[in-house]
Symmetry: C2
Subunit: 552 residues, 2 copies
């Protein structure tokens, strides 16, 4: 009998850490007659968190490094429930800084185990800036994860309220839905009521890194009119969010005043919210974007908390007609400049991209980003490969996401079916997540990622052997797969049946084909099969010689 | 006020034909203050068909050609309700034969208008075998459509019962669901009860070409045991189906006895139902596949009714691990031989492909098919780009389908969410169709298909202008887009609102960006914008100069 998947932990060898996996035990025996097991990457965090949030597993790792200290939280304005930490004077406690100095941290060993690679690879990719571990020192609850093109493709889920729809409990539910279905990071894009309280509730309950767009809260603080924004107001917000524990922040510093006229010929102008806010400010004042002018100071703040900067693409195309235009690529070149400034401050950085891009123009986005931004991890929204399917943009964009991932994008920002129409509810979050886990995994397979194909192999073997329960447990959504199968063949015996309702027992190709396979002895006696015998003798059973249990 | 989309007809100039389109009238005025209109490709057929099936619009076109005659239906065994026609002695009434002789048919003008191209292009592509118009002389109800890489990418929907689940009315409902959502052809893959009656009900009600896999009915006729199959039994079935009006037939003639041993190392063996049936027969008898041995005779029959042959890929890969293997490509080379035999008999032919293929191995499938099969139209199932998402294989495969379409695949065979788990019901048919219309359209955009981008452009303009009703009417699923929008902003006034519930009125990037766009006069006074003025003077409004009304 196959068991339900359970959580297992792998201990570190360098540090006292335990890395979670979801173990699937199969109804298939290995050469020692033990059940074959497959340990899958797991983003769900603690099984039964307490009411006041989840365990701050990194607290000791951070304090042990002795380069930060807790400050009196009465003097801060974080909205947070734990005393925040800041760097000691002259210190930059960032994973990038550590990696450049050759220091291996518990965070690095954690992601090495999670990804199934040697920690040396983690150190190398981090130190070159080709990968990041977004972890604020004030978000000790988060389990480390790495974003970089050599690692598993990651998925971000956006949640957050708007002025039309706002409830803190709903957002925590969306967080849980997102991580249940595999979200690697979550962005809180709230713009409605109680932004700080909502964010704190999310942070204290989140085992994954949390991102924000601080200009949204800044705008709320100045009364909603972009013209009233200022760098001072932004800085105040950024510091408060950093003290609260935000792991990465999207900063639209690349949209320069001189780029704005390039958007005039566009069909859909500026569709990034942050981009249009900054463009409005810049035009109103006829001054350079203050996030660009003050970028070095932003980096100083980020380095104090190990906040990762996600360079926002304020000029991403909002329609097929606007893809890869002058405005988009002019901003991308500026983002390349800003990457260098981040690195000079030991700040971890990734670069945001796409939007709406037709299939034939997707590869160019990755090529340009790699070249202009010196291989900083690329983090793209979709792209949506057509504009004509509102209500199904999780699909229009999963197509583009899978393709851009196959070209090297490190993290995909999901799109839900509600895109362009409204805010996602928990069901939409799930639909968006599944579509993007598919896209990310298709990207991993395409890149030949070590280990990614093991799950497909295990599932397909289960399918060929009619091990239905194994098939369900290995799938992205076991409940749905089981429910679809049960619609027409609900009997428990059917879970072992050598057919399904697609073809019925007489016509099942898998069953017919299984009989072929067992008949190969007789087949080879035939003279017409001589050539095949040669192939078979030459090691034809290539897949059976692969280890069934490979992590992740 | 925007009107509901309505059906319009465009008359032929060479023939007395009328070609249907779905007209969307927009809340946008052209330079003459008329509402902009967009006429979309329409597959839905007659609005209110009678009880005994739809109008046989091609009946006169066929009889006028004087190369076929009706036969006494009492002497036949078609299960059909109209007297069948056959070719006159020595005649091959196929669209390919006509095209090679330089004869333009009403069918050719019909598809030229539908595709928005000159009929000369149709004639050229047909005569070179790079495109087909699958239309049996006994299915006069069908509206002509063309399948070829220079034309709009088409989508086929599979329906049909199995022994576990069978009801004729359900299948006609699935047919209607499929064409409502844009199916260009429908395959009836029934293997359960009443195969002939079900097929006839579908044919008499279908405005799109109908395909079958005749070996399924043949197998039912011989009692369900593949070993009992014979070419005689197959021929009898094929002729009966051809007399009933089946427009194209999948024939697994490319799976040769010598290919079977190549499948032994596979993870999932032979997953094509037709393929495993023929492999079982061939192994049991130790004889060459009778469909291969008798292929010339099969072509003779096909040419008598203008049945298009769809060369089945009995060895398509059923898992990521099996993609692009020796077995698959050995069969593809044989399909190339068979294409030549079809053409020698004036028979229209396309080639079936993919299954499960990772993204990085998709392009090779198209390249090999073009080369080995002399540019015959490629017709692929998906491909599914990962095995791990049963319940969501419409998405895993829409990714691969969009990509393979962008490389030149002419028709995509849809996959529904029930793939691998059960037979699709009407809801699943809709979900599969929408996912595949997205994939096909994304492919069209990627290929730069003339006119495909017009719908995206119109929708994105409507989006930027907050013309919500236009946005809904231009989308693939207007009801769903409207329902999602209404969940949070149901008031009719919100349909004109300059924001939606995603961001609310204060934070809407489109609204902010619109204000930017109207501020361009002032913007250009600024010295920093001189360079942009240059761009704007240089014809920046490129999209506004494109005609809004382009067919299709």
């Amino acid at each position: 009998m196959s068991e339900q998947p359970s959580k297992v932990y792998v201990n570190g060898s360098l540090f006292d850490i335990k890395v979670p996996f979801r173990r699937v035990v199969l109804d298939e025996l290995d050469e020692n007659s033990n059940n074959v097991k497959l340990d899958l990457y797991d983003t769900t965090g603690e099984d039964s968190p307490g009411n006041s949030g989840i365990t701050p597993l990194r607290q000791r790792w951070i304090s042990n490094r002795d380069d930060t200290h807790a400050i009196d939280s009465d003097k801060t304005n974080t909205g947070g429930s734990v005393p925040p930490r800041v760097a000691n004077k002259g210190k930059r406690p960032t994973q990038y800084g550590y990696a450049k100095s050759g220091i291996i941290t518990p965070e690095m060993e954690f992601v090495a185990i999670r990804e199934g690679v040697d920690v040396g690879i983690i150190l190398e990719e981090l130190s070159k800036g080709r990968a990041i571990i977004p972890l604020n020192i004030n978000h000790p609850e988060a389990e480390p994860m790495i974003i970089g093109s050599r690692f598993l493709v990651k998925v971000n889920a956006n949640i957050g309220n708007s002025s039309v729809s706002a409830n803190i409990g709903d957002e925590v539910t969306k967080l849980h839905t997102a991580i249940q279905w595999g979200a690697d990071t979550v962005m809180d894009l709230s713009t409605g009521a109680d932004i700080a309280l909502t964010r704190d509730a999310i942070l204290r309950n989140s085992p994954v890194p949390i991102g924000t767009v601080p200009i949204y809260e800044t705008l709320a603080r100045v009364g909603g009119n972009p013209v009233n924004l200022s760098f001072e107001a932004f800085k105040e917000t950024m510091i408060a969010q950093a003290m609260g524990g935000v792991d990465y922040m999207t900063i639209h510093a690349g949209l320069r005043l001189s780029h704005i006229p390039l958007t005039i010929p566009r069909v859909t102008g500026i569709v990034s919210r942050g981009g249009s806010i900054m463009a409005t400010w810049a035009l109103a004042h006829h001054e350079e974007n203050f996030l660009y002018s003050n970028f070095a100071e932003i980096c100083e703040i980020a380095s104090t908390f190990d906040v990762t900067i996600s360079l926002g693409d304020g000029l991403r195309p909002g329609s097929i007609a606007d893809a890869n235009d002058q405005a988009q690529f002019a901003e991308l070149a500026t983002l390349g400049e800003l990457v260098k400034i981040c690195r000079a401050h030991d700040v971890q950085v990734m670069v945001e991209g796409p939007g709406h891009v037709p299939i034939n123009r997707i590869a160019e986005n990755v090529q340009k980003e790699v070249e202009l931004c010196d291989e900083a991890p690329f983090y793209t929204l979709g792209p949506l490969t057509t504009d004509i399917a509102p209500g199904y943009d999780h699909i229009t964009s999963a197509i583009g996401a899978a393709l851009i991932a196959s070209h090297g994008t490190a993290m995909l920002c999901y799109v839900t079916p509600k895109e362009h129409l409204g805010l996602p509810n928990a069901d939409d979050v799930k639909e968006g997540m599944i579509a993007y886990k598919i896209a990310a995994h298709a990207g991993d397979l395409s890149k030949g990622h070590l280990g990614a194909a093991q799950r497909d192999l295990a599932l397909s073997r289960a399918r060929f052997d009619f091990r239905w329960e194994d098939q369900f447990n290995l799938s992205l959504d076991p409940q749905k797969a089981r429910a679809f199968h049960d619609e027409e063949l609900p009997a428990p015996a059917a879970k072992k049946a050598h057919f399904c309702s697609m073809c019925g027992p007489k016509f099942c190709s898998m069953a017919l084909s299984q009989r072929l396979k067992t008949a190969d002895g007789e087949l080879l006696k035939d003279p017409m099969a001589e050539k095949s015998a040669q192939f078979v003798d030459g090691g034809a059973e290539i897949y059976l010689s692969m280890p069934s249990k490979v992590r992740p």
